[in-house]
Amino acid sequence: MNAYNVIFFVALPYAALLMFLVGTIYRYKATKFKFSSLSSQFLETRKLYWGSVPFHWGILFLFFGHLTAFLLPSSILAWNQQPVRLMILEVSAFAGGVVTLFGLIGLFYRRLVDARLRKVTSIIDIVLEALLITEIFLGLWIAFGFRWGSSWFATVLSPYLKSIFTFSPNIDAVVMLPFVIQLHIILAFIIFLIIPFTRLVHVLVYPLSYLWRPYQKVIWYWDRKKVRDPQTSWTMHKPQNN
């Protein structure tokens, strides 16, 4: 067994998982206020929409697709049993990947060109976005160049990931995969590894409780329609009492 293979496919995943677990807990306890995406919506909105919305739609679709293939591989294989269904899944995933990449490149561009954003941008933001762009680009390459990834993920990568999570790593199949796929896997672990130090921690504090919290009654004391008119700036101000 090649030492590099052990480092990248056994040591790295465990290091990533450990760092993810310990790092996120530590950061939540130590810097709770910064445990968010540190939204820059107030600084720029127009470019944000074309970056953030497609990126988030796309990445959620791709993430849960990968998660389903890992947790329920037989369900994916059963779905893919009919060629038409396989095509639907593969094409949706590929289109989802392109949408995600489009959005992410938009976000990256916005972060680089907007003077206000540069003030609140750290090196790790750039590193993370560059890693994500590379990762998604590799994913698209794999989807196109090594097609029917949804099926072979279920038979090749699910057992590998399962072996990692059950502490009996079996990397026989992974080390034989093409380099592009190996790089996609390695980058995924590296992204997991750096999550605690990035804005990505916000995925862990998604306000799911909003789904069942009591609703809040909002009474507008000013012209709501005028304020929310998408074409105008915020020219109105809340009436002051004093």
Partner: protein, 273 residues
Amino acid sequence: MKWSASFCIMFLILAANIYAQFSGEKIFQEKCTACHTIGEGKRVGPDLANITQIRDEQWLVKFIKSSQSLINAGDSLAVSVFEENNKVIMPDQPLNETEIKSVIDYISINSPDPANPNLRTPKQIFDAASITDINIRRGKALFEGTTQFAKGGAPCVICHNVQMPDVFSGGMLAKDLSNAFSRLSAAGIDGIIRTPPFPAMANSYAQKPLEDSEVKDIIAFLHQADKTNSGNNAGAAVDISFLAVSLFGLNIAFVLLLFNWRRVKKISVNSFH
């Protein structure tokens, strides 16, 4: 003229040979399997594995045609076989000598090697003459995954492609199998399917091995693919259609984004300063 005649004769011999092999299997399955097996033990009658090595072929032909006639004529061998098998009468078979010989050939081909019972002869692994359209169709369905393997193994198409009309374009993670039959031979394919030397494949099938009939059908399908493979790059057409349909999917996504864009506040809070 001479060439045409030779060709016709060769064709007829070949056709007769194919028919004989095919009919041997068919007759055996229809008329013999109720009481006999080839290498799977005794049923009502004896196991017929390697029967041609212990009995004379002419005697076998006579016995299969009418065992009772031989017994009544006092043939000692026939009588002893009759007594060894609890005096159960083997019914006379309305078969001609060619048909009986085709059954004997079938038994011979499919008998295990007595010196090494686990080693199968190339003909036992795959006999081009004995495959039928049904084998090819079943092989195609198993390859594509429209019929599941009995033990639930993943279909071949997820990793392998075969260029053949009407066959769904396969995956590109592993080797293209369009010419696998020429490259690997039936025995090679059989060996790889049964004990895969590739870890990804071994992982997939270690707990879910293919059954004998499934291996045979897959080999029959790959044999057919090898014969019909025109060398056209059908994969390129799939790539283009894949991209085209993806483009359609992208359009839908962007139309939705545009639709939503209408009601988005375009100017951020502090922009008017």
